[in-house]
Subunit: 476 residues, 2 copies
């Protein structure tokens, strides 16, 4: 009884995680019941006979979760069946000329050679990625046709029936998977990338504050544990490679849908995904320093806090912005500014370090502190690379430009970007987010929204000096 | 023509990478030709008829590269066929009681419910890992039996034939895969782990020297490129998770073979593999610092070179030793000493740092240097964790103890371990490798072999002071 309840709980969890799974299960049941009608209705049965079973088999084997996977498997199956059918008939014809003793031997040799060669070809990496299933079906159909041809004289008839039932089964799957609540692998890949961006941004947005406050408040064990859990979100990014690759493989089979055209540049997604993963590796190292036993003293953290916070949060904001622009399929316009802000924060940090602030720091602390700093710098460098790569993706996929939308003179949301030199080395960049456009349709009041940054984005710090610095700069 | 030559080259590469692939292809061809004989020979055809085709299908679908995968799929298929066959007969019996109009409707409902529920259950992570194929075959067989039962009155006969042909096909696959040049997934997992250890050790053994020599010789671009390629070996470890997991899943199905018993603790392999991957992430970061533009001056590198080299090489030796002991399935006896040596090197390094050596270093250099140091320390910590985890694996898998073997008084290879206090903080540990035992069977000469370390293992450095230090300590 406890076991049953546990299974029910697991089922609810699985359904809640992705409700499309329930819909998919219904779809499979529906198509299978539909195709089974081949057997029930006399007219259909008369034309196909026992071969109608191939339609049932095709549905069970081909119907996958996403359209791309279903389409890929369906096309693989139909193509391979056609090709192997033709080849099987040829083999049968050749063997039948060699008399009744020679025929089975020749057929066995054909089957052996074909199976051995096809199995070997399945090991080719490029074949394995896209045509593995094709070759499986090729071996199967060739063996069945050439061998059963030995018994049944109407080989052509048999092949015709097998091919047409496979086509009917495959077509049912493909049509239902496209037109009934479709699950697009391409869209999933797109959203997976956006969510990976977001996971990293969540870490980075919090990291600066948490790192600098680490010892100010005596956290209880529970608080520490909770923080740890929040931080651990990014870990799923570390192992997302195989998932991304299979989604990209499926996506290549998909027709145009929604905002994605047929030849959407999916391989660019893999490139961006790889860089995001590189960044996640660094974040993983950074996280281990944050959780390490060696704590840097509050004193030095206070001194370096401002640029450190800014570095982390600006990188986080750049990631967040990239996530949003990917979701909306617009060019990532303001990420560049965030990266510049992060760069300027690096400069102020190095200036602080140059001023001899580290002289009194213990070597142990120094190691921990400087490693965190250097990993952060590394992350910012990678963020810049990711941004470049995302720009390439955006232009290959012809993402809309954000600025074009907000150039209407009436719209309240004007991107006002003015890099303002403050010290020689510290560029503070100010800009308004142009997201306001959609709010302006509702009301004319200035929107209060956590996504809006009408203030100086590079100054979300709290030390008095910085606030003064910030107040001097008002958006024009 | 060029295309054909390219394919030939690719084929040669694939075969060279793992010659077992060629053998596997022959095996598949052989079994398929064998099973096809069901069709050729009258007596066999008489008893199974067209159903003999199920044996052919089973072979094509079930025969996988490794024994574990074949056995898993075969058992899944046979079990699911039996269960679904029984259930299908029951459904047929129930439906046949409801009259000629009710029967097809009821059968369609049964098929729908069964397919929908089974498809949903396939999403459960634990089911997906081990029984995904079972459920596929379950849906297929149930649909075929209950639906074709509507036509053919001899449902029991049909089920019996389908089940027995599937069993015959599956049995052929399993027997051939076990007894003809078997490929064991368990062994592959075992060797994969050992090679992952080795890849990391190769990086670490070289890293110290290369890092400290970086600017002494003006390397040409080619040399730098080549070094980069040698270093990049470890990168395959970063994404080995999915491969390890699937091998472990297959290995669970395998019977005892060679040194692996039936219930070999495969899940411990996954734990060790995960830690190795964690270490690889750190190495990945370390590598990026090594390749970065900011170079640390030779002066400071010379001062810190000795402990840095030792840290890296001792960690590398520990990894190498773990790789070897895993390969030989003995307990990793001397790795602990290498880790201790690495720890003592860390201590001498921190002492050096405490002595104020860093006062004159530029902040930029300092960041780069200290990050490399801290990542190295991190790697040594992880090496210790990996060693613990490997010890757990070794005791769970009942690996032989190395020392027991070499305690024979006659054997020349006696592990002589004497931690010798040198300075207050610098423990130099000396030991002889006990690998010599196998060489002693061949000859009584002292073997000269790169695997043997009859000298002070913690002193493979070159500075004059160290050599003197080393000469003072001779193994007793």
């Amino acid at each position: 009884m406890e076991k049953v309840r546990e299974i029910m709980r697991e089922g609810r969890r699985v359904a809640k995680e992705d409700p499309r799974r329930v819909v998919h299960s219904f779809k499979v049941g529906l198509v299978l019941a539909l195709v089974s009608s081949f057997y029930y209705y006399q007219p259909l049965y008369d034309s196909f006979g026992v071969n109608a079973m191939w339609a049932v088999m095709t549905v069970v084997v081909v119907f996958e979760f996403s359209v791309g996977a279903t389409l890929g498997k369906g096309l693989n199956r139909v193509g391979a069946t056609l090709f192997a059918g033709a080849l099987g008939i040829g083999a049968h014809h050749l063997a039948s000329k060699s008399g009744s003793t020679g025929e089975p031997i020749l057929l066995a040799i054909f089957v052996f050679i074909q199976a051995a060669v096809s199995t070997f070809v399945r090991f080719f990496p490029r074949v394995k990625a896209r045509y593995d299933y094709s070759l499986l079906i090729f071996i199967l159909t060739f063996a069945l046709i050439s061998v059963s041809g030995f018994r049944e004289d109407q080989v052509l008839m048999l092949t015709h029936k097998r091919v047409s039932t496979v086509i009917i089964g495959g077509l049912c799957c493909v049509l239902v998977s496209i037109f009934v609540c479709p699950v697009w692998a391409g869209q999933d890949l797109h959203l997976l990338l956006a969510s990976n961006f977001e996971k990293l941004s969540l870490f980075l947005l919090d990291f600066g504050d948490k790192y600098c406050e680490a010892e100010e408040n005596d956290d209880t064990k529970e608080v520490v544990d909770k923080r740890k859990r929040n931080f651990d979100n990014y870990k799923s990014v570390l192992n997302s490679k195989s998932n991304e690759e299979s989604l990209a493989n499926f996506a290549k089979w998909e027709p145009g849908h929604g905002q994605f055209k047929f030849r959407h540049p999916w391989k660019h997604y893999l490139a961006v995904g790889e860089l995001i993963r590189q960044c996640a590796y660094r974040i993983h190292s950074l996280n281990s320093y944050y959780n390490s036993d060696i704590q840097v003293s509050i004193d030095i953290k206070k001194k370096l806090g401002e640029p450190l916070r800014r570095m982390s949060s600006e990188a986080g904001k750049a990631m967040k912005e990239m996530s949003n622009s990917l979701k909306k399929m617009t060019k990532p316009s303001s990420s560049n500014l965030h990266v510049q802000n992060a760069r300027s924060a690096i400069k102020s940090l190095t200036n602080l370090l140059d001023s001899g602030i580290l002289k009194e720091v213990e070597p142990q602390e120094l190691i921990s502190l400087l490693t965190a700093i250097s990993l952060l710098i590394d992350i910012i460098n990678l963020t810049e690379k990711i941004l470049e790569s995302l720009h390439e993706l955006a232009s290959a996929a012809k993402f809309k430009s954000k600025t074009a939308k907000s150039e209407k003179p009436n719209a309240k949301s004007i991107v006002s970007v003015q890099p303002t030199k403050y010290h020689d080395d510290h560029v503070v960049t100010i800009f308004e987010d142009d997201d306001t456009s959609k709010h302006n349709n509702r009301s004319n009041e200035v929107p209060i929204d956590e996504e809006h940054e009408t203030k100086c984005v590079s100054c979300n710090h709290t030390s008095p000096r910085d606030v003064v610095e910030c107040d001097n700069v008002s958006p024009k």
